[in-house]
């Protein structure tokens, strides 16, 4: 898999600041998303109240990579863990954002897309990337794959321009599911 940055903190254990963050009660945004509401404003309002050295903990139904990028821009390092299917817990720590990918178990492609493995295949999160970077990242990933692995794309909209490019490369969109801010596409090689 191509990568310009491979997270290694998993091997070195969680960050030291996690001890403090574990004391913070999590803000569970899953019910907000289930209501069809974007919890971005709620998260940002909570982040506003965090002082330097403080922490914020979010429970989400997926790894909220774009949120982690946004929070990194506001000075938060982050550390994420998949607790169960459809349940991620992400710890944010306000320290200048020097360590924002920590524990995410992700690789980052040159376009900024994050990829990680789950049981159902290789996941790639291209949300919040400027066009055509989502298309570039997905094509880069599938061109690097040799076997018959499924690629699960996390997008913020249906990517209309993707299907023709996939077809040219012998891939197809096998199915698609739309949730709030998470359109998921399962890509498979043509049989």
């Amino acid at each position: 898999m191509p990568s310009n940055h491979c997270d290694t903190s998993e091997g070195g254990g969680p960050p030291e600041w996690l001890t403090l963050a574990l004391e913070v009660p999590p803000l569970d945004v899953r019910p907000i998303l289930a209501d069809g509401t974007d919890p971005y404003a709620t998260v940002m309002a909570s982040a506003d109240g965090v002082i330097l050295g403080g922490s914020l903990v979010i429970d989400a139904p997926f790894n909220p990579s774009p949120l982690r990028r946004v929070m990194a821009g506001r000075g938060f390092s982050s550390y994420g863990r998949k607790l169960a299917e459809g349940h991620w817990r992400v710890f944010f720590h306000l320290d200048g954002g020097t360590d924002w990918e920590s524990g995410a178990e992700v690789e980052v492609l040159p376009e900024g897309a994050m990829i990680w493995r789950e049981e159902d295949g290789i996941h790639i999160d291209v949300r919040k990337l400027p066009p055509p970077d989502p298309l570039r990242a997905i094509i880069r990933l599938i061109e690097s794959l040799k076997g018959a692995e499924t690629v699960v794309v996390h997008h913020e909209r249906e990517p209309h321009f993707l299907a023709p490019e996939l077809a040219e490369r012998g891939w197809r969109i096998a199915r698609m599911a739309s949730e709030v801010v998470n359109v998921r596409l399962w890509l498979e090689r043509e049989s």
Partner: protein
């Protein structure tokens, strides 16, 4: 969970394929018609054209309104909502726009060719009404967008130029038949020159630059053009446009020349942005349509250099003729046919999986030979006609016109084949669905 991410759904953004394709089909037909009218007009009329009603003006508007703007309208209503992720407006308004605009262009061009005033008035009115619907649709979309300044600033400038050029165009049409204009504006030729600047560099030029920032990176899988580049080209090219059009309408050659020089600076910034995208592209081998893009990019600064000559006092014949030719046929027609060549099979492929089957392959939908012939003919026509404008001589002009016509017919064959292959793919998909 992310700002601005709750936008419209996918189905609301994709128009039925018949809507954009009617614009593209009309553009292809008007393209052939324009060259046919030029052939019929003959080399002598074309070579010395510096304005005035007649078949050459008709052909010019068949290209500018019929091919260039028609393609821009069809592409904009399809791609703008996808790019901005905001709704465009009702589909009936897009259809209304077409049914006002396409007949309007045909009647206006016929009115110019046969010099019948009521046809010019009717055609001009219908055309402007169609464009008014376009302005309403696009402005409503752009008003909701704040996150794509590079592209949207060019689109706003294009709309502003469109409003001005349409007003000047209507005034010019009325002036042909009543002659009222001489009383309060400098002269007909000056207003016509400003109309041409606003049309070529304003409406079409700004749209071409704005859409380049979206389409070129996508077609070559290159990196996104930074918004700062788009903001810079919008600012510099907007200033150039004001000076160029202002200098033309006021008859101040030095002001128009300053506009051309600043326009060259804008082109330099634009081409640097495009070069950066191309440098990072994932498609190492560029597709055939890109030959026309290279040609267009060479012709854009060439047209601005040619504009300096008449602005600084050189005789209108041949310099204004050469400038207009390089602007319309060199830069804009090359660019628009490049985009049409890529976008027609691309949209067909995009829509071809609507029934749930495998999408048609781009490489299957786009036949190669017709576009090779078109490119060769287009290039030869540019060289021959430019040489004839500068050096005189009837045979290179005549040959150039015939070669241009042959190229447009070949492009028409390409368009027909794309649509036929798309339809046969869809028929097969329907049959497979019935079987399943």
């Amino acid at each position: 969970m992310f700002p601005g991410s709750l936008m419209l759904g996918a189905n609301e953004r994709l128009l039925p394929p018949s809507v954009p394709y009617r614009f593209f089909a009309a553009a292809v037909v008007f393209h052939i018609a324009a060259w046919a009218v030029l052939v019929a007009a003959g080399p002598d009329e074309v070579a010395g054209f510096v304005g005035g009603a007649g078949p050459v003006l008709a052909a010019l508007h068949l290209i500018t309104l019929g091919t260039l703007a028609m393609t821009a309208l069809g592409a904009a209503i399809q791609l703008l909502p996808v790019a901005t992720r905001r709704p465009l407006g009702p589909v009936w308004a897009c259809r209304l726009m077409f049914w006002l605009y396409a007949p309007g262009v045909a009647v206006l061009a016929a009115g110019f060719a046969v010099m019948v005033p009521w046809m010019q008035h009717l055609g001009g009115t219908l055309t402007v009404l169609g464009l008014a619907v376009f302005v309403w649709l696009v402005a409503a979309n752009l008003r909701q967008v704040s996150d794509l300044p590079g592209m949207t600033r060019h689109a706003w400038l294009a709309l502003a130029a469109l409003v001005l050029l349409a007003a000047l165009g209507l005034a010019l049409v009325v002036d042909f038949t009543t002659g009222f204009l001489g009383g309060f504006l400098p002269d007909h030729a000056a207003v016509a020159a400003a109309h041409a600047v606003l049309a070529g560099y304003g409406f079409m030029g700004m749209l071409a630059l704005g859409f380049s920032y979206v389409l070129i990176p996508m077609f070559v899988l290159g990196s996104a053009v930074p918004d700062a580049v788009g903001r810079r080209t919008a600012l510099v090219s907007g200033l150039a446009l004001v000076l160029g059009a202002g200098g033309a309408v006021l008859g101040l050659g030095w002001l128009a020349a300053a506009g051309a020089v600043i326009g060259l600076a804008a082109v330099a910034v634009y081409l640097r942005g495009m070069a950066a995208t191309l440098k990072t592209r994932m498609k190492k081998r560029l597709e055939p349509f890109f030959r026309l893009v290279w040609l267009a990019w060479a012709m854009l600064p060439a047209s601005l250099l040619a504009a300096l000559a008449p602005a600084l006092g050189a005789p209108l014949d041949p310099w204004a003729t050469l400038w207009g030719f390089l602007l319309v046929f060199g830069w804009l027609l090359s660019f628009v046919t490049a985009i049409l060549q890529r976008i027609m099979p691309f949209l067909a492929s995009m829509h071809s999986s609507a029934l749930g089957g495998k999408p048609a392959l781009l490489s299957h939908l786009a036949p190669r030979r017709p576009v090779d012939i078109h490119f060769g003919c287009h290039l030869a026509a540019l060289a021959l006609i430019a040489a004839a404008i500068l050096g005189g001589g009837s045979w290179p002009m005549r040959l150039g016109l015939y070669v241009g016509l042959a190229g447009s017919v070949s492009f028409g064959v390409f368009a027909v084949l794309v649509l036929r292959r798309y339809r046969s793919h869809m028929k097969a998909a329907v049959a497979a669905n019935h079987k399943g």
